[in-house]
């Protein structure tokens, strides 16, 4: 038995974990199990990738199988990490179309959560760039699923949280780019309505994300800074720089749980103030891909900053029409409990893939909370509010939702038709999915 947890280090669950090294080993494991879940690199925050009875970790099934240097099609096993892909193909001028805020996610995890990046308003989510998936079904057969073959299973698998089957391998499309640099510019927004409007005004930007100060009150309520990015062309890269810069070195790594008091309200609000004063002077600049897309990846185990109790992330999406009213109420609720958050991020979603997949038209907010009793209660309260506004919660981040709070916008009965009976995660049991 090993203690397993997600990126939030909450909850921690004793589980039997097996890490097969080959497809044959994997098949043998699955054949003999009646309750299990696949796990990628454990970057989901909560308990999506844990099953007490058996958690099958896929990170050693991680080979590149075929690469088409002309078209940019990559066929790979599901344990391959986005970090591997960038490491291998960026020097040849290719990058993932969609990437989450950490590069340490597996292809299986990226498909199962249908992850989104800062370009959802332009390109949609990860699933849009998946050509096909080889899925292991209930009878332990490998089924090829694509938009033309087993098409329904394909659609329910994208964003299906691993519940339709184990993703064995897949074909994805990479994007041709001229350099590994991003031209970044920033827009300061003094309050919430400005913040929301500035997304609207910058719809054409390739990448956009806002850092939002959820503790500011009065005139500054909902102030934010919107960071916009475009891929730099080859001739826009500074002369002395490498066109495709390498990954940054790890700055330092936390080997222990930091004491909880480091992150009380005071430090959080101080952090927010500092950040805002600093960024007012931030000039437009060219940033390397690693700093731009994965600012926290260079600090190993930064998730330990929240101390022993761990933390959870609250991420919701609200329909566009209710953004202003909804986020105003959410921020008020957060301020009332005064449980400020280290990272509050706002992103713009275009229309989604439907089915189980999380992204849908509207703005999405993500913020971290230390997993204290008060914060968990607050998280549940926020979830109720989101439901009232017709929004929904991102399962990849959730660790606290109760079953009655899970408000899927798809038909559970329809999902059941494609759901593998043997697959269960602690989360799927908790929210009755």
């Amino acid at each position: 038995m090993t203690e397993l947890f997600g990126w939030g280090r909450f909850p921690k669950i004793q589980s039997r974990e097996l890490t097969p090294k080959s497809e044959a080993e994997l098949a043998a494991i699955l054949r003999n199990s009646k309750s299990y879940i696949a796990r990628g690199n454990g970057r989901a925050y909560g308990d999506s990738a844990i099953n007490k009875n058996l958690t099958v970790t896929m990170t050693h099934i991680n080979r590149f199988l075929r690469w088409n240097a002309k078209s940019g099609e990559l066929i790979a096993e599901s344990g391959v990490l986005i970090a591997d892909i960038i490491d291998t193909f960026l020097p040849r001028g290719w990058f993932p179309y969609v990437t989450p805020g950490t590069k340490f996610v597996s292809l299986g995890g990226a498909i199962a959560c249908d992850v989104h990046g800062k370009n959802h308003h332009k390109d949609g989510s990860f699933g849009n760039f998946v050509n096909w998936i080889d899925l292991i079904n209930e009878d332990n057969q490998v089924l090829r699923c694509s938009r033309s073959e087993n098409a329904d299973l394909f659609r329910w698998t994208i964003g299906g949280m691993g519940l339709t089957g184990v993703i064995l391998r897949c074909s994805i499309q990479l994007k041709k780019i001229e350099s590994g640099w991003i031209k970044q510019r920033s827009v300061i927004n003094n309050n919430l309505s400005e913040s929301l409007k500035s997304f609207h005004e910058n719809k054409d930007a390739q990448y956009s994300v806002a850092w939002i100060d959820c503790l500011a009150t009065g005139k500054s309520f909902g102030r934010s800074i919107l960071l916009l990015g475009e891929h730099a062309k080859k001739d826009e890269v500074k002369q002395k720089s490498a066109v495709f810069p390498k990954v940054r070195n790890q700055k330092f790594s936390l080997f222990f749980d930091a004491p909880g008091f480091l992150l009380n309200n005071f430090t959080v609000s101080a952090f927010n103030k500092l950040y805002f004063n600093f960024s007012k002077f931030m000039p437009s600049s060219c940033v390397d891909w690693d700093t731009y897309f994965y600012p926290l990846d260079s600090i190993g185990n930064w998730n330990r900053i929240y101390g022993k109790e761990g933390f959870f992330q609250f991420q919701c999406v609200l329909p566009e029409e209710v953004s202003l009213e909804g986020y105003t109420k959410l921020f008020f609720a957060i301020q009332k409990k005064s449980s400020g958050s280290f990272l509050a991020v706002l992103k713009d979603f275009g229309s989604g893939n439907g089915y189980v997949s999380f992204p849908r038209k509207g703005l999405t907010l993500a913020l971290d909370f230390k997993a204290s009793k008060i914060n968990i209660a607050l998280g549940k309260q926020l979830t109720d509010m989101v439901n009232d506004f017709g929004g929904t919660i991102y399962l990849a981040k959730d660790a606290i939702m109760e079953d009655v709070q899970y408000n899927p916008t798809f038909s559970k009965d329809e999902f059941l038709k494609y759901r593998n009976r043997f697959i269960k995660s602690e989360q799927s049991i908790r929210v009755k999915l």
Partner: protein, 246 residues
């Protein structure tokens, strides 16, 4: 013939071997991979080619078929610059001590096969005038213990063989590296509960090997702490040692 440097990796399906293959390929080497049932290497070959855009060729080789060694070496596209032998068999001490034919397999796989092959390669390197040879032995060979002395004694023989070989070919510019990995998280140790501070990942072993070959080291413990652990274990007087259990 291209000028790119080449490494021959024997026992190429081993997890340590695979990490070494990735390391050398990322440093621009071409790979010659030898293993038994070498068709199982096909996906590995594809993966390495895609990752590193380098030449990778797979060869069939069973370390117990000594008579085939010369033909195998003749069949290589060219004599490599570096050779690594990662073949090994831990066996199961409790069963093996009951059935001596099992013991024979462990002894031959860890000692005879690797020694004979690397000996023959050393002879060819000697004639050519350069080359590096890497043998993966084990700290288990430093002192025989009840729990794994069949494996340990074979590794001990292998370590001694490498030591003598190093001594013999030193003047001809051939370098021999003995690697004592300590615990490594691989297929071989999958079922064992290893203490994490003493256990290296295969990639760490590969990095250490690459650096050690470059600086022409003779013997390395992958995690230095093992040198001291073995120093202590080897200094226990025999009359006490024989009563201990580990």
């Amino acid at each position: 013939m291209s000028k790119t440097k080449k490494i021959l990796i024997v026992g190429a399906k081993s997890d340590i071997a695979l990490a070494v293959a990735n390391k050398y390929a990322s440093e621009g080497y071409e790979l010659q991979l030898a293993a038994r049932n070498s068709s199982e290497l096909d996906p590995v070959v594809d993966d390495l080619k895609i990752r590193h855009e380098t030449n990778v060729i797979a060869y069939e080789l069973d370390i117990l078929k000594y008579e085939r060694f010369p033909d195998f070496l003749d069949s290589l596209a060219c004599l490599p610059d570096v050779v690594l032998c990662a073949v090994g068999l831990l066996g199961r001490q409790n069963d093996d001590q009951q059935k001596f034919l099992n013991s024979v397999l462990v002894m031959r796989t860890n000692y005879e096969g690797p020694s004979l092959l690397l000996g023959e390669i050393a002879r060819r390197f000697e004639m050519r005038g350069h080359g590096s040879i890497i043998g993966i032995s084990s700290v288990a060979g430093d002192r025989g213990r009840a729990s794994n002395y069949i494996y340990g004694s074979a590794k001990s023989g292998f370590t001694a063989f490498l030591s003598g070989l190093r001594n013999r070919v030193y003047k001809s510019g051939v370098n021999i590296l003995t690697v004592l990995p300590g615990f490594v998280a691989t297929k071989m140790t999958q079922s064992k509960n290893l203490p994490s501070i003493l256990t290296a990942q295969p990639e760490e072993v590969a990095d250490k090997i690459f650096a050690a070959v470059k600086t022409k080291k003779n013997i390395i413990y992958v995690r230095p702490v093992w040198r001291y652990i073995m120093l202590v274990i080897c200094s226990i007087p025999e009359f006490i040692f024989k009563r201990m259990s580990f």
